[in-house]
Symmetry: C2
Subunit: 169 residues, 2 copies
DNA sequence: TAGACGTAGA
DNA sequence: TCTACGTCTA
């Protein structure tokens, strides 16, 4: 209903290219890149009814790590976020389960990364391209265990230009 | 920052007419009709630094009453909403205080009303025009007292067409 | 820093 | 019905 124009899309979204920038989460929804308004992991079911993840947003709400070599360590959803109300271990359900299932189903996952906009820049969401989920493990003390996922950027996509180049607009 | 284009505006907003419709709260923000994303009462301070209300949204989250004679009974903000987490009496602060102050400062308040979209219609926010706040009182049992405000539509504005006419689009 | 009549999807 | 890496203003 409303402006929403897309159902769940696996893989690249027609008309959206690596490096495309967005100001608000609602824009990601409208173009079909990532549908949840707040959630970090968008999910659907594949032809065998297996829950899979189709896109993730790394906004800084969790301690994710992005390396220049195209490797991303993404933190699962739920559980205790620093200072926030949530309490307890993350569970292997919903988005967390979906992301894990991407390993064996070899489902490519769209990665959207939020740059915080240093030096008074406007924060932007940037489409980083397709990644494969290659590993999944748990970290943390009992009561605050989280899931971690290693994602590797699929080769052959347009290069990303981070760092100083993103400062020029 | 971002798309926000307006500071607080008292009275009518240039380019917005009675009956104009909007799909999302963010649109009310962008055009300057009502800035808060969730809050029902938008406030600012007048030239004497008195806190005043400049617009309210009646979305159905509280039991408001709109009569065909241009009279609206609006419920204050805070306290216990049916079933929600909030608990206790509403306080005469922030938006509630601002709305009360509109009585003595004779500040006109923009009213935006949300129609729920019966028969599969898309829910819409509609600009209802300017109202005067003419009365304020408290209602309810101790522990769940709320503020009520009587608003009267300022005469001479374009008529509103509710009911059957809003079914045709 | 926290609160608020938000939204979409599961 | 509930959750979710939202987003604004005070």
């Amino acid at each position: 209903s409303g402006f929403t124009q897309h159902g769940p899309i696996v893989g690249n979204v027609l008309g959206i290219e690596v490096g495309d920038e967005f100001l608000y989460r609602v824009e990601l929804n409208i173009v079909g890149l990532h549908r949840p308004y707040q959630g970090g992991i968008d999910t659907t079911r594949d032809r065998y009814n297996v829950l899979i993840a189709i896109s993730v947003v790394a906004s800084g709400g969790y301690p994710d790590q992005l390396s220049r070599s195209g490797e991303l360590v993404y933190t699962g959803s739920g559980g205790k976020i620093s200072g926030k109300k949530g309490v307890g271990d993350q569970k292997l359900e919903k988005g967390n389960l979906a992301l894990k299932n991407c390993i064996r189903t070899k489902t490519p996952v769209r990665v959207i990364h939020r740059f915080n906009g240093l030096n008074g820049e406007t924060p932007m969401f940037t489409y980083d391209g397709l990644y494969n989920v290659v590993d999944c493990w748990r970290e943390g003390q009992p009561g605050s265990k989280v899931f971690k996922y290693k994602l590797q950027r699929i080769p052959g996509q347009a290069e990303l230009h981070y760092g100083s180049e993103t400062s020029h607009r």
